[in-house]
């Protein structure tokens, strides 16, 4: 019997990175942020407030192991060890499970701070599209949160919803965005409230002869509508930026832009690391404040 390859279509690519402009660090302050999300875990290491290295990987069944795995992978080519890191902040839903952290901060605070760094001080509205929740966050020019709203009750509008459709249509989750534009005209959206209903609608559409591309367009459209409702309830103030894994899916991002008639700022870094980056920045500020006090 021929062996059938079981492709895990939902699997996104894990990655790590080291700042090529800082080949050998001899600075004064190393801080780290570890964001344990429901689906992914990131560790960001900052050297005097400059991103030095990071990793982005899946959260395993054991959160402390995920935290250790992420920080080790981030440190891999840096020559650093845990002892070199002055201060670590844990964030995300698993933030209490970072064994080497000095403090925990909520992911909403960290995402706003991280987005402020990635996109600059003009960002006022951040849409964080995570694996199992979706948040609309307002912040000021310093990246401090002024208001937020979240959906964590329903998978519609989250990465988990996208994974379900990737598996159903046997399309790699990273290809969905591009494919969803390969249609002659934009089809009507499928159910935007329930992933389960959207899934049965998608099955019916496939049987009625729709192409995968057309179904993906209808699905990305529905997901965009879903998060736009959250954004509208929270109020939109420009500039606008999207963070989290779905920010990499242009099928959803462009549809949000077109429904709202605005443009999201172009990311300059991996959108999934915003939370961990914010945590590392907050850590740096805390250490500096403490040192300033001691020197008085």
């Amino acid at each position: 019997m021929a062996e059938i390859e079981k492709v895990e279509y939902w699997r996104w690519t894990e990655s790590n990175w080291k700042n090529p402009e800082i080949p050998d660090w001899h600075g004064s302050l190393i801080t780290a942020g570890v964001d344990i999300g429901s689906t992914s875990t990131q560790a960001v290491i900052m050297a005097d407030g400059v991103p030095y290295a990071y990793s982005n990987m899946r959260t395993g069944s054991n959160s402390p192991d995920s935290a250790i795995g992420a920080i080790n992978w981030a440190m891999q080519d840096t020559g650093l060890t845990l002892e070199d890191i002055t201060y670590t902040i844990g964030t995300g839903y698993g933030r209490v499970n970072v064994p080497f952290s000095n403090k925990t901060v909520t992911e909403i605070t960290c995402h706003a701070r991280g987005a402020n760094y990635i996109y600059g001080p003009t960002v006022r509205t951040i849409l964080d599209m995570g694996g199992q929740d979706c948040k609309a966050i307002h912040c000021d020019e310093k990246g401090s949160v002024t208001a937020f709203m979240m959906n964590d009750k329903c998978a519609a509008g989250t990465g988990r919803g996208m994974e379900v459709i990737a598996n159903l249509l046997a399309v790699r989750v990273e290809d969905i965005g591009e494919m969803s534009f390969q249609v002659d005209e934009e089809p009507a959206p499928v159910s935007s409230t329930c992933v389960i209903f959207a899934k049965s609608e998608a099955t019916k559409l496939m049987r009625s002869g729709w192409t995968k591309e057309k179904v993906l367009a209808a699905y990305c459209h529905a997901m965009a509508l879903r998060v736009v409702r959250l954004l509208e309830r929270n109020g939109m103030e420009l500039d606008f930026a999207i963070t989290g894994g779905i920010a990499k899916n242009i099928g959803v991002v462009r549809r949000i832009e077109s429904i709202m008639g605005i443009k999201a700022l172009k990311p300059t870094m991996d959108t999934q690391i915003a939370g961990a980056l914010g945590a590392a920045l907050i850590g740096k500020e805390l250490v500096e404040k403490k040192r300033a006090k001691e020197n008085q």
Binding site: S61, Q132, C154, R160, T193, C194, V195
Partner: protein, 256 residues
């Protein structure tokens, strides 16, 4: 007088024939992808069972989500009206109907004369519908029909948190990994649904005579959890999947 009702649901299509105020034939089959064909078949099977010809049927009423596709009935009635009429017909003391289908749930409060006072519908989210139980049964590797018995054998009051089917699947898998028994998890799943239905009940007001209809009403574990949450007995009529089709047939007789 002979009338007929077809309830074309998202998962199953039901046909019922009523003769002189008595249900004489019932047929059920999966709706699948062609609602129109399913309705024709359900109607024909029901007619055949009792040896009645189409010409002998005075009026045929269509209900269910498929009524937008099945257009050859003499009249149509919405799901709320059909459920209320059917429940009142089989259990006259009913004052609140819980109608749970595959993809939706309705709670209907009735006046004494059987007219609808107010109702709540959840058809936007699968969290309170039969699909939810099916998905959890799959995660537990238990047949959907066995979920009730598993739940009744529970030994502790396990609580589940997830409302969304997608998140609940992951939660059930985590609970299996945490060595919780399938019996306790099934109970937790049913309690979760019962609590969600309870919030719909609160909006229409709590009454004394609950009747539950629709496929999930066969699930004794779910019904027992609902009784526990509401503090009321939940009566489930025989043939509870056919009650809305019966209601449609009664409606057909009304409007002669």
């Amino acid at each position: 007088m002979i009338t007929a009702g077809i309830d074309c649901g998202s998962q199953n299509t039901k046909g019922v024939i009523i003769k002189d105020g008595k249900v004489v034939a019932m047929a059920l089959l999966p709706t699948e992808f062609d609602a129109d064909l399913a309705a024709q078949k359900a109607y024909e099977i029901a007619l055949e069972k009792v040896g009645v010809k189409k010409e002998d049927v005075s009026r045929l009423a269509i209900t269910g989500v498929g009524r937008e596709i099945v257009k050859w009935g003499d009249t149509e009635i919405n799901e709320v009206g059909a459920a209320a009429r059917g429940a009142k017909f089989v259990l006259p003391e009913t004052d609140t109907v819980i109608d749970m289908g595959a993809d939706s749930c309705r709670v209907i409060r009735m006046n004494e004369d059987g007219s609808v006072m107010k109702y709540e519908v959840n058809d936007k989210c699968a969290s309170g519908a039969g699909t939810f139980i099916e998905a959890m049964a799959r995660a537990l590797q238990v047949k959907t029909e066995e979920m009730g018995d598993f739940s009744l054998r529970h030994t502790k009051e396990l609580a589940t948190n997830a409302q969304c089917v997608v998140f609940a699947e992951s939660e059930v898998i985590s609970l299996i990994h945490a060595k919780e028994t399938r019996e306790d998890i099934a109970y937790g799943v049913h309690m979760g649904i019962a609590n969600r239905i309870a919030s719909m009940i609160r909006r229409v007001g709590l009454t004394d005579h609950f009747t539950m209809i629709g496929g999930p009403a066969y699930n004794k574990g779910l019904v027992s959890c609902m009784s526990k949450v509401f503090g009321r007995e939940i009566v489930t009529p025989e043939n509870n999947q056919f009650i809305s089709a019966i209601g449609a047939a009664i409606f057909a007789a009304e409007n002669q």
